[in-house]
Symmetry: D2
Subunit: 306 residues, 4 copies
Amino acid sequence: MENEEKLEQIKVASLDEILGKKFPVLDDGFVRVVDYMGTDESIVQAARVSYGKGTKKVTEDRGLIRYLLRNRHTTPFEMCEIKLHVRVPMDAWRQWIRHRTANVNEYSTRYSLAIDSSQRTSDSEWRMQSKDNKQGSEGFFPVEIGGKLTEREQEFQNFAREIYQERLNLGVAREQARKDLPLSTYTEAYWKIDLHNLLNFLALRMDAHAQFEIRSYATTIGNEIVSRWCPVAWEAFKDYRMNSMELTSMEVEVMKKMLAGKQEETLAAAEKFGWLRKVDGKLAGNRERIEFEEKLTRLGLVAPWK
Amino acid sequence: MENEEKLEQIKVASLDEILGKKFPVLDDGFVRVVDYMGTDESIVQAARVSYGKGTKKVTEDRGLIRYLLRNRHTTPFEMCEIKLHVRVPMDAWRQWIRHRTANVNEYSTRYSLAIDSSQRTSDSEWRMQSKDNKQGSEGFFPVEIGGKLTEREQEFQNFAREIYQERLNLGVAREQARKDLPLSTYTEAYWKIDLHNLLNFLALRMDAHAQFEIRSYATTIGNEIVSRWCPVAWEAFKDYRMNSMELTSMEVEVMKKMLAGKQEETLAAAEKFGWLRKVDGKLAGNRERIEFEEKLTRLGLVAPWK
Amino acid sequence: MENEEKLEQIKVASLDEILGKKFPVLDDGFVRVVDYMGTDESIVQAARVSYGKGTKKVTEDRGLIRYLLRNRHTTPFEMCEIKLHVRVPMDAWRQWIRHRTANVNEYSTRYSLAIDSSQRTSDSEWRMQSKDNKQGSEGFFPVEIGGKLTEREQEFQNFAREIYQERLNLGVAREQARKDLPLSTYTEAYWKIDLHNLLNFLALRMDAHAQFEIRSYATTIGNEIVSRWCPVAWEAFKDYRMNSMELTSMEVEVMKKMLAGKQEETLAAAEKFGWLRKVDGKLAGNRERIEFEEKLTRLGLVAPWK
Amino acid sequence: MENEEKLEQIKVASLDEILGKKFPVLDDGFVRVVDYMGTDESIVQAARVSYGKGTKKVTEDRGLIRYLLRNRHTTPFEMCEIKLHVRVPMDAWRQWIRHRTANVNEYSTRYSLAIDSSQRTSDSEWRMQSKDNKQGSEGFFPVEIGGKLTEREQEFQNFAREIYQERLNLGVAREQARKDLPLSTYTEAYWKIDLHNLLNFLALRMDAHAQFEIRSYATTIGNEIVSRWCPVAWEAFKDYRMNSMELTSMEVEVMKKMLAGKQEETLAAAEKFGWLRKVDGKLAGNRERIEFEEKLTRLGLVAPWK
């Protein structure tokens, strides 16, 4: 650390280029960078404090960042901080705000008039309830049906605004007038978070199981912003976290037998774990087995019970 | 600590009596205690770990708790934990959830049908916008006007439910069908928090400036629950925090001169702090001066400029 | 939730049996349970709040807990809370305290006399510096050398206590007299944490790479306490987290080619990832390749470059 | 917010001047700024997001910051972040690290050699145990005694280093060799925190009751760094927090009677609160009464029982 006199005020050219730029999300939302602190290099600097060494070559820096991320050494990633300005429907914001390790200043509809914009769903965007996944959607409605849903929504959102305006005109307190605003109403906020916690947010919200709306924000933040801000950490995040595959202890056991060509033992193990229960002579739905089969597919393998 | 062998599983008789009981709040909300850990005595035990001493007499315990709270020794209060089950309109929940140091499991309208209940405002409960306070209300509308507002609200909430039901009937994904639910829709949650952070929550949300709706919840939690759970800490909280008075360095300076009978110096100091600016020959509105005047009133004094 | 009226005050028989019992760790440390809130069933209850359903059969409860843990649904695990009383050398405490999401009351050497006990290393416990791992140890010294190290340590710790006592006898302030206490000095604390964060702590500190001393505490907490407190969650934690295997996106790619029997492509991919760099005709040390080889071994496979 | 397009990358000239500069603390410690994000203006920007307005005049900005701090609107202050590099004795670091809402990367004595420097106390710096305050010090030893204490400390610290070196020379693992390092050993860390939490840290650690060593760091951070970084917030912090005076509900009651000239009622109230208990005909020590007397003194008043 003796010789470590370089300061971390290096700015990232490619991020500076988009500073303040609004990346549109959904029909009227956006994300933009207000300010940031630190870069890939700050992660390295922080790690080197722990290791008591000065900075080295760029290639070693890349290796170090990748090592840290792969081995879940999280504190160096906390040394980078970013502040975003977001405009997002209250419905998605309700999910967003559940991430507690961030700083937030949200637009106040107690103090000010509610933003006069609600997220509208166009005729091609209405999603059907998933049958397999109780908390998911699957496929879109044809535009004939979608068109009617959009029309009704428009009618409803107009009524909502009318009611809100009526109350304000009468002199109802803003804090009470807002009580029936639809969750589709846009809100805005400054949201500040460190890179480690942002990556946690992205891992959850860029995931295929995340709801489309918040996933759209997460994807924009990841692909447009983090990729420019800390490109090495971003690449490592994709390699070691987003696109990694976790095998449970059961999966390791079954796979080992399977790769050894021991079919009977493989089936016995799967049986033991309750994966092969049958209903009416057919394999019953079993989440763990299905997840395992998907992993096998990714590895180019097929389960012996298939 | 040598002799400290007593365990903290003492249960509080008066809290156990209300365990699970629903305390109604607003028109269809409630708060109830699901579980708790620790009592006034646990605060004492934790403090004595720091001080390395065994338990003493009950009177000393009371003095110790009061000393800790008065001097903002916060960690012993973190040793008590409570889990509540609450039913609250989403609008109030949006404020509630801003307290980040709590554990939360909220009812999911992505997985399940939205609760079929919205907070309704009766004809006598409509509040007027405060003129002085941009984020407050002041006084109620006469029931003739209130009645019309309530009627319109009913009409609107019915429409909201109709739209929601239409979508579900068509097979729209629950996660999308909910997007226009009004903020008045009730949600439920398990909310777990330690006593220190709960007192912070109560200090903010029982305050006269807090919005009526969340204040109603906070008041119920404080008066009905914390008062039974940790009565000594609760009393100390009221004496040293809720009902205390903070004088700024300016207020101390002005008050000292005032109590010394030095009228000119008092006025000069107030002038220096910008409290006595005049507009059209009359004192202009000045928040700091007004706050000071209110404190003087509480002490039975009157400002010399009045 | 309508019918969910059962409260969570069910106590865990097997945990209640050990309540207050000191589990010894190291030469003079311990861990004991002071209090706890919640059980396996509370995890289920919390999850069912989200899903809006009443409790079901025990077998389904087990499945639900396992599902939640496997899919990193963390909030239901936050609904269980435990309070431990620990005695631990300051050196290990320095690592312990880095876990920020816990409540702590530590014994104060500012207020009280330092605990008159230091962790002593016996003649068979001195560990050699690992050659491969800069922050690890590997193997033990023979007792002849160990004996001398222990003797010198004893001499040193006696001197440390002498100095401390001298200062106190002279009337030096306790807060200053303690300034040269060795890190081996024992401290005590109440440590309160929720199950989710405790499992994070255990995942890190029970890991083979954790330092022996803190690993001893973590192992005791896991095997003796959590296993009794929330046995179903504990089993799931071992199956899905402690004993799981994570494959990076690179490892998946190489393994897929390998399992398809495409040797050349396998080597080309490994080459591309920099795993096969040679120095003097031999494979150079490469962490990622070595980690992958270990995973292959666990699956009964051998890398083609071996 | 529509017109709010100005970004927050304004740098603070007076802080930039000292960027990287080491402010010495104690005999061999220091604090220096590595990086920062935000300025006074960022606090204003964040508040204006809530209020939905663009930036205004500088004088209004100052008023707004002061208003926010006075009324404990804390979230806008969380929008400023600073990263410090500190060198501090482990003893003080043990207190420092108890502030959980910060990001930390500490020098690792598991990975690297311990820093070869221990805090030394010179002959004029040895403090006597306070008689009134169990966790405080009071006055200094004469240099004749101090000189001997310093000599013994030197002897001890030399022995400590000798033992440490012996172990390393023998090949003892670094993670174990360090186990007896004295708490006076210096450590280093990167410490990153937002302004709101930093002010909380300063309020506690700049306080007269904080231990001298950590108070020295806090004072340097406050007076040298925060004063340059966010001068308006810093001034408000001093006016409304550091130098404010809090009156408990009891003190308000007694003072009101006292200012009304009702001596008997004043004494009766003080009596009721247990402030006037006598032992051997003299007022017994009573913390609350003494604290009140000190506040009266600051206001130029004298208690009627004196």
